[in-house]
Symmetry: C2
Subunit: 234 residues, 2 copies
């Protein structure tokens, strides 16, 4: 049962990241209904780091899910499956979490840049409140882990003693990463009017239409739910 | 540390439920910007179970948070703090979870009724996808708990053997309840245009205005994040 959950976690973390990558690189579109009932679409996909290019935003979901979903899952799983020596596993754990930290910092910069360059207020949504809290708590856990388990001079006894706390807080972090991520998906889909489209779209009358972006992002969110259950239950 | 987290969990579960109750009973309002820049408001607060009354919806967040946040937290905490005899604690645990089940079933009926009575498509949003998954997984855990720990005839050895699985899956459920709940808050706030209001509101020009409903619901979501961390970390 545990092996099954671990294999599932590993696969799900890759699939969720890939779905977000596909969403942002090729699918993300905004839908807005005009007064005559026509639904206008605007392709928002692709990446850019150029000033004032709205596609700067698209780095945000990709980098956050690369860090908090893909890298973090591998960091956890390497200490559950223990495929190598303790030293190597520990190095992989630390490397994955460092990759996460770098990735989510750049991902956070991307969204602040996007807001500032397009005069959008920062930190008004629940997603942003959860996101900042998750970042702070994750950084605390990272520093704690670094100081206790990597920085030389801490005794093996203390390391072992606080290990249950490190693991328990890590599980808590997986849960709140899940909360923040689905809040982010909901926010993006709401902005773009991607779900439940009514009106005349590409010359056809639609009602309650689930756009490809909505179906894809909902699937990513649903698989993330399964990943969170699998990771927190093992 | 553990005692602090438990006291915090107990208080937070009550506070989050109360905030949702206040939001739905007295604060929830929709904001829509007209073509002349005026922001129209509509009071949506209060409760009703009458056919076609849109306030039927308001039972949904209240009953879901009463069950999945308040009752479930108490059910978990009684087995962490163990204030009474094992038999009494077990009875409280089972009663709280039964209250949860009844509450969330009625809460789910409320939202389907609201959708059907107002011709709104069911199950298109990520919140609804997560919600159905959480309900199914919670019902499975409830049945498992009932059959193994309450139904007579199961040996003490088996009960003890599968206890770690029951606890681990319970932690996973707390995480996905958190995910579903914040997705629900995001959805309601987006529908009502409650956050980041721009235009002329009650005769005053506002920009990036956080309405009372937005501030209140965001606070509930943020405290829920802390509750989920506290519950999954102990």
């Amino acid at each position: 049962m545990e092996t099954l959950l671990r294999v599932m976690s590993c696969i799900l973390s890759v699939v969720v990241f890939c779905l977000v990558l596909v969403w942002m690189s090729a699918v993300v579109t905004s839908y807005s209904k005009q007064s005559d009932g026509t639904v206008m679409t605007k392709d928002l996909s692709g990446f850019s780091w150029t000033t004032n290019d709205p596609r700067v935003f698209n780095w945000h979901p990709v980098l956050m899910s690369f860090g908090f979903v893909l890298c973090t899952s591998q960091a956890i799983l390497v200490f559950e499956t223990k495929p190598f020596t303790h030293r190597t596993n520990k190095l992989i754990h630390a490397t994955c979490h460092t990759l996460t930290l770098v990735s989510v910092i750049i991902g956070t910069v991307a969204v602040f840049r996007f807001h500032n360059e397009h005069n959008i207020r920062n930190l008004y949504s629940l997603h942003s409140w959860l996101g900042i809290s998750t970042l702070v708590l994750y950084a605390m856990q990272y520093m704690f882990g670094f100081l206790v388990y990597l920085y030389p001079g801490v005794g093996a006894k203390l390391r072992l003693q606080v290990l249950p706390n490190h693991i328990a807080f890590g599980i808590g972090l997986v849960a709140i990463v899940g909360m923040t991520a689905v809040a982010g998906i909901m926010e993006k889909l709401a902005f773009n009017g991607s779900c439940n489209v009514n009106g005349v779209l590409h010359g056809k009358s639609v009602q309650g239409y689930l756009t490809p972006g909505c179906a894809l992002a909902n699937t990513a969110g649903l698989l993330l739910l399964l990943l969170v259950v699998a990771l927190t239950s093992t």
